[in-house]
């Protein structure tokens, strides 16, 4: 219903950098049926690798496309929106993939082969996605494809080809369609849910004693609008005392926000949630400062250490909340998986962004799939192995995904939501991201995902790392 109704425009996605939506989805990717049982299932999300350490080095000749036995290589292709006039850093996804491949290759590779990026493609703001995907499938001779693009119109082609595909999941096209199953397409989140009102923000608002909240979203972007509606629904479901005092999902892209801030000030808004990109929230912060509206923002995709390095920006966002997509670097103790990433990525880039870590995680997922498929691996085996995983968490870096379900659109079928509704939260204090609400070794706070479950006073503190630490 939500999917086809409403006034919307795909192109909007091009404009509204969509991490906001990914986060909205993270906050709502839940199953309705698992209430109460989340704690027991929360441990040990790492893949149950079927291959033993010994046969990870075993070389078995292969005739799979993308496996070059002469050079002893497994080739992958990467497609990113490199040419991107809106300044997105999509191409840095590749750095994460490179870093993880280097780590594996430095330790002797896998099944006697090295992992190589055979081809990097630029889909030019996503407008050439379908073409680049088709070209990659026919020309690149790749065993798997990595994608981080503004649009993902090539999803069907990848699905029809049965290509193992690892994406930065901001694209609604990841989900299977009635015509084509997308069970070969994996992301660091399951299929996105834009309209599920989650527990996290209502809980945060209650915890911080805010009673009047504002919600802002782009009018040009359907997904942004749906995100705003989902957020509103969350407040209405779980926090009857909190008033959505201001709601505007008609903000023109690159327009000014003075009128909105004036209206929020008049309405006494204390806490602002947006479904907009970093640039727009910074503009909002500036305008709030000018008009003397002293409200806290929840920033959807501001986990960017580079821009926080600028003192002006840091001052603008003081006390605002930021939820990283992956477990935060500032967690103490740092999880082993985060340490491994931060160490390895240095070899590739000195300025990793959040997206770089997503590339790393997806490369790790691919390699875990290879490990699970065994020395006689095939594309089908890799896909089948990952799809057998019910709680894949990349050693705790992400919220566990149930790949038996989460290729499907959860908006039309509630049963297809994931088991976990978790977030990891930081607050900006003096130019630093300070983790909030964590217990040592447990970076995630999780909620009972049932729409009927009320918000708890204290959420579950969880870790999805092997051994339950970090």
């Amino acid at each position: 219903m939500i999917a086809s109704g409403g006034t919307n425009m795909r192109a909007g996605r091009l404009l509204a950098t969509s991490v906001a939506l990914a986060l909205a989805a993270a906050a709502c990717g839940n199953s309705k049926s698992q209430s109460g049982s989340t704690t027991t299932q929360s441990q040990g999300g790492a893949p149950q690798t079927t291959a033993s350490a010994a046969n990870l080095t075993k070389f078995v000749p292969s005739n799979q496309a993308g496996v070059d036995d002469a050079k002893r290589e497994i080739r992958v292709a990467v497609i990113t929106s490199k040419t991107n006039p809106l300044g997105g850093k999509y191409v840095q996804y590749t750095d994460g993939v490179k870093a993880y491949f280097k780590l594996i290759n430095d330790h002797g590779g896998i099944y006697g082969r090295k992992l190589v990026i055979a081809k990097e493609r630029d889909d030019i703001i996503g407008t050439q996605n379908a073409q680049q995907v088709t070209a990659s499938l026919s020309d690149d001779n790749a065993f798997a494809t990595f994608v981080a693009t503004l649009q993902f119109t090539g999803a069907d082609a990848l699905a029809k080809a049965g290509q193992p595909t690892f994406i930065w999941n901001i694209n609604p096209e990841m989900a299977s369609t009635p015509q084509v199953a997308h069970t070969n397409i994996f992301g660091s989140l399951g299929a996105l849910c834009f309209n599920c009102g989650g527990h996290f923000l209502p809980w945060l608002v209650t915890k911080e004693h805010y009673t009047k909240v504002g919600i802002l979203a782009y009018g040009v972007s359907a997904s942004s609008k749906i995100c705003a509606a989902g957020t509103k629904k969350g407040y209405q479901l779980f926090t009857p005392n909190v008033k959505v005092a201001f709601f505007d999902d008609t903000i023109p892209f690159s327009g000014d926000l003075a009128a909105d801030v004036a209206k929020m000030k008049a309405a006494g808004v204390q806490f602002v949630t947006t479904c907009m990109d970093t640039n727009e929230v910074a503009k909002l912060a500036k305008e709030m400062k000018q008009q003397g509206l002293n409200a806290t923002q929840n920033l959807p995709n501001a986990y960017d250490h580079d821009s926080l390095g600028d003192p002006t920006t840091a001052a603008l966002f003081e006390n605002d909340f930021v939820e990283p997509q992956n477990s935060a670097w500032e967690d103490t103790p740092q999880s082993p998986a985060t340490q491994e990433y931060l160490t390895a990525v240095k070899a590739i880039t000195t300025h990793p962004v959040e997206l770089t870590e997503s590339g790393w995680i997806m490369a790790k997922m691919f390699v875990d799939g290879l490990k699970g498929a065994g020395p006689e691996f095939t594309k089908q085996k890799v896909i089948a192995y990952l799809n057998s995983q019910t709680a894949y968490s990349a050693d705790g870096l992400i919220v566990p995904i149930d790949w038996t379900k989460q290729h499907n659109d959860p908006q039309s079928n509630l049963a297809m939501r994931g088991k976990y509704e978790c977030a990891t939260v930081t607050q900006i204090k003096a130019g630093k991201f300070v983790p909030l609400f964590t217990e040592p070794g447990k970076p995630w706070i999780c909620f009972d995902p049932s729409p009927k479950a009320p918000i708890p006073t204290e959420p579950q503190h969880m870790s999805f790392a092997p051994g339950g630490k970090g």
Binding site: A3, S4, G5, G6, T7, N8, M9, R10, A11, L14, T83, P85, L86, G87, R121, D122, I125, G126, T127, Q128, A130, Q131, A135, S136, L137, S138, Q151, T153, D156, P172, T177, P178, G219, V220, A222, S223, F246, F247, D248, D249, T250, P252, F253, S254, G255, D256, A258, A259, D260, A262, K263, A266, T278, N279, A282, K283, K286, G292, D310, T312
Partner: protein, 673 residues
């Protein structure tokens, strides 16, 4: 009252942005006769340099300002004048607009080769601590806002003084009217025109560093260009001549927008659809209704006919052997390509071929509008999108036959094209183009938000056509279908070009008054061509939507349509050949030529070093700079470059034929020695 005053002060600050840009447009138009649609990207160049220096390299405000605004901006002006516009002074207004359009595409490509995108929002502009707030009576303004208001006021005043009270201002206008006439009166028009460009570019540079702090946008070309397109309405209200009017209209637009934001209910169709589209709706209405703009003839140099006549297109000077020879040559090449696609090509080659065929159809619409009718339309992408949306919606919602829906989509696009052309035709030259631009932007901002047009965020999959027992779900049969349509459309275009309509359009383009004197109605001829052109675009839109399986709005964004114009104009807007070449370029250049073919070629012919993948931005530079040659070669670069070899071959044929007689090399008639 709060909203009233708050809206007024914020509106004045925002309006000062529009006003500064509008004054820039007026200044450029008055002093150089160019409707400088590239004004925004000129601003972007200075902005990018300033913020890169100041933010990324910690250069202090004043040196960064000097380098990027005081030095770079005028330098760009000098370069544009010396290398380009100086030679276009007696060119038609439309050619100058196309040249500016080429710059709009090329300059960001050039800037991005050197500079990264920079986040300007949090960093300082040219005012230290720009976010310091002052309360002035009921108004609350920060330093950045005060800076833009003051700058705009100073620029406006300076320009008014320049035009009213100085000899230089008068000379600038004289040079625009007729540089030759001005020179006859002792004006050094080279120097004056360079000064004009320096001045305009300096204003652009100022805007470039000031704007991001007010609008809160990143230093990215699209933001500047979007603001410039919004400011066009203020410039048009000023008839592109009056600086005080441009100032007032810009401020008025800002205030109006701000009041609407504050007084309109936050969540309503009006707010979500009208608010972002306001400047474009306003432009649409002003152009349609303002009687001052009707029948306005572009500035033409009374001494323009001093120039030698343009050479005739190659086809006109070829003998029939040569014509048939080239035709057979192209047919053979085409046949080899198609043989390869159908029998040896992989999916990707097939995908390329289908898209090339579809875009060639769409580009035929530009051949009709620009090549035949001499009109530059910025709304071709919108027409194609309308065709696509209509066919997708009818096929998925009504379950109609896809072949039929594609035809209906083309028909609807054609009717929309005709309806749009009626008010547009009362406008001359660039105002007509601006009208199509306003229509495209208004349509994009207002109508494309309705799910019943686009099919929503997850549009239902549109099936492929079926014709009797032939199912076009198979890509090879779909390609065959596209080729058939392309052949039909090309044949149609050729017949129209050679038929009555084409001749009438040629006549109208040659001289509208003379055409009227023999009973040709320019209006009717143009409405018909606009309709035909829009219908062809719509046909292509329907085919692509069916091929991709759903309506994709980014395929039909207005700015994509501008790039189409640039690429077709570069490669040959008069001929089907040109449309085909443009389609090849559009599909293959960024995908295969730059990353693969060109590096391969370079690495094979030079021993100096390995060249890797060339960035996709190069295509914008390549085609943007290509379009810049439009004024010189209205038939397109490829066509122009074909001339010489063709003449040589022709001379060879002639020599053979006249065996015994002394060889006469220049018999082809096109080369007056």
């Amino acid at each position: 009252m709060d909203n009233f005053f708050g809206g007024l002060t914020d509106g004045v600050a925002y309006g000062a942005v529009y006003a500064l840009l509008a004054i820039g447009l007026v200044l450029a138009y008055k002093t150089s006769g160019v409707f400088n649609i590239a004004f925004g990207v000129q601003a972007y160049a200075s902005g990018a340099l300033y913020y890169t220096l100041h933010t990324s390299h910690d250069v202090a405000i004043i040196p960064a300002f000097i380098v990027s605004v005081v030095l770079l901006a005028p330098l760009i002006g000098v370069i544009l004048d010396r290398l380009l516009f100086r030679f276009l002074r007696s060119a038609p207004e439309m050619s100058r607009l196309v040249v500016a359009l080429g710059l709009l595409v090329a300059i960001p490509g050039i800037v991005q080769l050197k500079f990264d995108q920079t986040l300007a929002i949090s960093s300082q502009g040219i005012v230290p601590h720009g976010d310091t707030v002052y309360n002035i009576g009921p108004a609350v303004l920060n330093r950045d806002q005060l800076a833009i208001i003051v700058t705009t006021a100073i620029v406006a005043l300076a320009v008014i003084v320049l035009f009213r009270y100085t000899a230089v201002g008068l000379r600038m206008r004289a040079v625009v009217e007729s540089s030759r006439m001005a020179e006859l009166n002792g004006v050094n028009s080279d120097r004056v025109s360079m000064l004009s460009w320096v001045l305009t570019s300096f204003v652009a540079g100022l805007a470039g560093v000031l704007l991001p702090q007010i609008t809160g946008n990143q230093v990215v070309d699209v933001y500047y260009t979007t603001l410039v397109t919004a400011a066009i309405v203020a410039a048009v209200l000023a008839s592109l001549t009056s600086v005080p009017l441009a100032l007032a209209a810009g401020i008025g637009l800002g205030v109006l927008q701000e009041w609407l934001n504050r007084f309109l209910p936050t969540n309503s169709v009006v707010a979500s659809n009208i608010r972002p589209g306001l400047p474009f709706i306003a432009l649409f209405l002003v152009l349609a209704l303002d009687p001052r703009l009707r029948h306005r003839r572009g500035t033409t140099d009374p001494l323009a006919n001093v120039d030698p006549p343009p050479p005739a297109p190659v086809a006109g000077t070829r003998s029939s052997e040569l014509t048939w020879g080239t035709r057979i040559f192209w047919c053979v090449i085409g046949a080899i390509y198609l043989y390869y696609v159908f029998f040896h090509g992989n999916d990707s080659v097939l995908d390329d071929a289908i898209r090339i065929a579809i875009y060639a159809i769409i580009f035929c619409s530009i051949v009709v509008a620009t090549g035949l009718a001499g009109q530059v339309s910025f709304a071709q992408a919108t027409f194609a999108g309308i065709g696509g949306a209509v066919s997708a919606q009818l096929a998925t919602q009504q379950g109609m036959s896809v072949i039929l829906t594609i035809l209906i989509g083309a028909l609807v696009a054609g009717v929309v094209g005709m309806v749009v052309s009626i008010p547009a035709l009362r406008l001359g030259g660039i105002f007509l183009t601006l009208f199509t631009f306003a229509f495209a932007l208004a349509f994009e901002n207002v109508f494309l938000k309705f799910g019943w047009i686009t099919g929503g965020i997850f549009p239902e999959a549109e099936p492929r056509p079926q014709l009797g027992s032939v199912d076009f779900a198979n890509n090879k049969s779909f390609l065959a279908l596209c080729l058939v349509v392309l052949v039909l459309v090309s044949a149609g275009v050729v017949l129209v070009r050679g038929g009555t309509t084409g001749r009438f359009l040629d006549a109208v383009r040659g001289s509208q008054v003379a055409a009227a004197s023999i009973g040709i109605s320019a209006t009717r001829a143009r409405i018909v061509t606009f309709g035909l052109s829009a219908a062809i675009a719509g046909l292509g839109g329907g085919l692509l939507t069916s091929y991709e399986g759903h309506y994709t709005p980014t395929n039909w964004a207005t700015f994509v349509g501008l790039f189409w114009v640039v690429i077709v104009v570069t490669l040959g807007p008069r001929t089907i050949e040109g449309a085909l070449q443009a389609a090849f370029g559009f599909i293959l250049f960024a995908k295969r030529v730059l990353p693969v073919w060109l590096p391969w070629l370079i690495n094979h012919i030079q021993p100096f070093g390995h060249v890797g993948t060339l960035p996709a931005a190069v295509q914008y530079i390549f085609f943007g700079l290509g379009a810049v040659t439009y004024a010189k070669h209205p038939e397109g670069i490829l066509e122009a470059n074909k001339r010489k070899p063709m003449q040589k071959i022709q001379a060879l044929i002639d020599r053979r034929r006249s065996s015994g007689e002394p060889p006469e090399t220049a018999t082809s008639g096109a080369a007056p020695a």
